[in-house]
């Protein structure tokens, strides 16, 4: 059985070394003969058995002898482990290609926890946060998604991007959203302030979108490039808005209106109903992904759904 492992290991090493290439051939011969219930002609298995046991027997005679005597069992166990790890490696490679990580769609990389009071840890990392410990997302049909800013292209696909301007993971993920915006998809954007300090920006989102939907996307581009420290500086926000060639004070006035505040609260409540607990949260045709993912992951899901 050890020949199976030897075949793979020596096969890879054999790409670079002629000595190992010869051993790989011996291992192949051994595997073929063993699978047809014949004795290994090259005795590679016996040599490996003796070499491994020999290395140990000098220092630990009993252990070395034990390995030698029970080598077949060790071989089977290691081969089994090897095959299992080979399968998992294959799955991981597939996941990496499709989802951008080795653990598949369920893995949660770093994301920002919803914490408006600011008393908790502001961000998580993949080591400390899992979906189960944070909550369960509901499906999009539990809320009225039409109440959020939308870039409608009449596509069959819709990506809902829920992010926070101050969240480093949302900021990391935003360029991927920009790429998505160049695809044939409808985009819905929802600001989910994981910190209280950026909550006021939701109102600016609404007012700008109401004035001209295009303005919101320019506003997003600008805010995600802005240093996080500037996001609490409302004057800086007004300067950004002014740079779009519109009256910033008019927008500022809009943010204080009851209708605006009411819509912002409605949106926040809808996101909480949806079960959003951190950012970024992205729904690709209804399938949620929490944490930043590469563009290919989103693209792959869109392709699956017929793009």
């Amino acid at each position: 059985m050890i020949c199976i492992i030897a075949l793979v290991v020596f096969g890879i090493l054999g790409i670079f070394s002629a000595t190992h290439r010869k051993l790989a051939w011996e291992a192949l011969d051994c595997v073929i003969r063993k699978t047809t219930f014949r004795k290994c002609r090259t005795a590679l298995d016996e040599r490996l058995r003796s070499k491994i046991s020999g290395k140990v027997i000098g220092k630990f005679p009993k252990t070395g002898a034990f390995i030698y005597k029970h080598f077949a069992i060790f071989s089977y166990a290691f081969t089994l482990l090897f095959l299992v790890s080979l399968v998992y490696s294959g799955i991981s490679i597939y996941n990496f290609a499709v989802y951008g990580n080795c653990n598949g769609p369920e893995e949660i990389p770093g994301f920002c926890i919803f914490d408006p009071a600011g008393g908790q840890t502001k961000v998580t990392s993949s080591e400390t946060c899992t979906a189960s410990s944070e909550g369960t997302l509901k499906t999009l049909d539990t809320i009225n998604i039409t109440r959020f800013p939308r870039l409608d292209r009449g596509s069959n696909h819709t990506v809902v991007f829920i992010g926070c301007y101050a969240c480093p993971y949302t900021r990391q993920s935003y360029p991927e959203l920009q790429k998505l915006m160049r695809e044939d998809v409808n985009i819905v954007f929802a600001h989910f302030p994981t910190k209280g300090m950026t909550e006021y920006l939701s109102a600016y989102d609404y007012c700008l979108y109401e004035k001209d939907p295009e303005l919101l996307w320019h506003f997003n581009d600008a805010l995600f490039q802005e240093p996080v420290e500037s996001l609490t500086n409302e004057q800086r926000i007004l300067d950004i808005i002014s740079s779009f060639g519109i009256d910033a004070h008019e927008i500022q006035e809009c943010t204080t209106m009851n209708a605006t505040q009411s819509r912002v609260q409605e949106q926040l409540a809808a996101l909480q109903t949806l079960g959003v607990y951190g950012t970024p949260t992205v729904f690709v045709d209804g399938q949620p992904l929490v944490g930043p993912r590469p563009f290919r992951t989103y693209k792959s899901l869109l392709r699956k759904n017929g793009n």
């Binding site: 005795a43 016996e46 003796s50 027997i57 000098g58 005679p61 002898a65 030698y68």
Partner: protein, 403 residues
């Protein structure tokens, strides 16, 4: 006179090295000996200072090389007690020497060639091939129960039909040495010639071909501290003159026309083509080195080592007689349920002890006894008693745990 082994070991560069972080314990001398720096220098001397064709060109390099080659031939001839230097033919190794006799001697259909039952393939296959090709009869003299030579059986098998007695002088299987002088006497009385395979006797004991009175004696350089790829065949001059060379070409003739040729003198008529000059000079240096050590001292040191191993090794069955005096430098063990190859690898991996495992090219003997192989430790004069004790300790430890 006891030899100073520690001083001798300084001559062997490889013994100063460590293998896998441990000192090398080399107990595979029956397969290949180690080389002292004197031999290495002789080889280097050829490539650095001479590097020409011997026996052909007239320039100074060539003539100096020819002189040194002939000096080496004289050294080798003296080492084996030959009457004349020209009785030594340089060959590639023992195998080539035996094949030279087998293919050059006038053997005909029905002629009998006798061998022992412990022949190395080198002294078995040539006769099997001749049996197929020419119809000679190859007969085997079985050993006694303790694996020593059965002289009575041999005598009974001798007849006028026996034209050649081709036997291993010292066995690489168990180290036993046949009574060569007695065998030669009996063979000659029956009109047969004697060829001895001296691969294992030449490096380990005083061999005097004239005292033994053998007709041919083949040996290898690589087993007697000489370079690989060089060996020799001793033949009595009158016997060599009767042989028809089977390898011919450059150097083997003095003149040719399109239809005729005139053979060179002995030994050159048997040394076809350019020779392994570096090897010949190295072999000359090797025999000089062994002479300096003294073959009696070599034999005594090997007996000391063999005794230490024989007394120390437990739980393994020795091949051949128990008395170390009868086994030269060889301790060959049947390993029972343990695979000898596995044991050899373990000794190497765990303690950097190099031994040989398998059938040692004596497959016929193992097949006869329905055995798969054995583990052979073969010592030489540069091995120490401490090494022998270390080997004993290690093999006993491994075997005890594996059984």
């Amino acid at each position: 006179m006891a030899i100073n082994t520690l001083k001798i070991r300084e001559d062997f560069p490889i013994l100063q090295k460590r293998i896998g972080g441990k000192p090398l314990v080399y107990f595979d001398n029956a397969c290949m000996s180690l080389r002292p720096k004197q031999v290495l220098s002789a080889i280097q001397h050829y490539y650095e200072d001479l590097s020409a064709c011997g026996g052909r060109s007239s320039h100074r390099l060539a003539t100096q090389l020819t002189e040194e080659m002939e000096r080496a031939r004289k050294s080798v001839s003296a080492f084996f007690g030959a009457k004349r230097a020209e009785e030594i033919i340089f060959t590639k190794n023992t195998t080539e020497g035996i094949n030279l006799v087998a293919n050059s001697l006038a053997l005909h259909k029905g002629d009998v060639v006798l061998t022992t039952d412990k022949e190395h393939n080198s002294n078995l296959l040539p006769w099997q091939f001749l049996a197929k090709r020419k119809g000679i009869v190859h007969e085997v003299v079985d050993s006694q129960k303790d694996n020593t030579f059965d002289i009575d059986r041999f005598e009974r098998m001798m007849s006028k039909k026996v034209k050649l007695v081709a036997m291993v002088h010292t066995s690489n299987l168990d180290g036993t040495t046949i009574p060569a002088r007695e065998i030669c006497k009996i063979a000659h009385e029956h009109g047969a010639l004697v060829l001895l395979d001296g691969a294992q006797s030449a490096p380990h004991k005083n061999v005097d071909v004239r005292k033994i009175d053998c007709d041919f004696y083949a040996f290898s350089g690589h087993k007697m501290c000489g370079p690989s790829g060089i060996g020799g065949l001793y033949g009595k001059k009158e016997m060599l003159e009767q042989l028809q060379p089977f390898l011919v070409g450059g150097e083997t003739v003095t003149d040719t026309t399109y239809t005729t040729y005139e053979l060179e003198e002995i030994p050159h008529r048997f040394e076809a083509g350019l020779q392994h000059y570096a090897g010949i000079l190295g072999l000359g240096a090797a025999v000089e080195y062994l002479k300096k050590i003294g073959m009696a001292n070599v034999e005594a040191q090997e007996l000391l080592l063999n005794s230490a191993i024989t007394q120390g090794v437990e739980q393994l069955q020795l091949i051949g007689p128990v008395d170390p005096k009868l086994r030269g430098g060889i301790c060959n063990y049947l390993t029972g349920s343990i695979d000898p190859h596995a044991l050899a690898i373990m000794l190497d991996q765990s303690a950097s002890i190099m031994v040989r495992s398998g059938a040692h090219c004596v497959h016929s003997w193992f097949n006869k006894h329905h055995l798969k192989g054995s583990l052979r430790a073969s010592v030489s004069f540069y091995n120490t008693v401490d090494e022998a004790k270390f080997f004993v300790e290690q093999i006993n430890k491994i075997v005890k745990n594996l059984k």
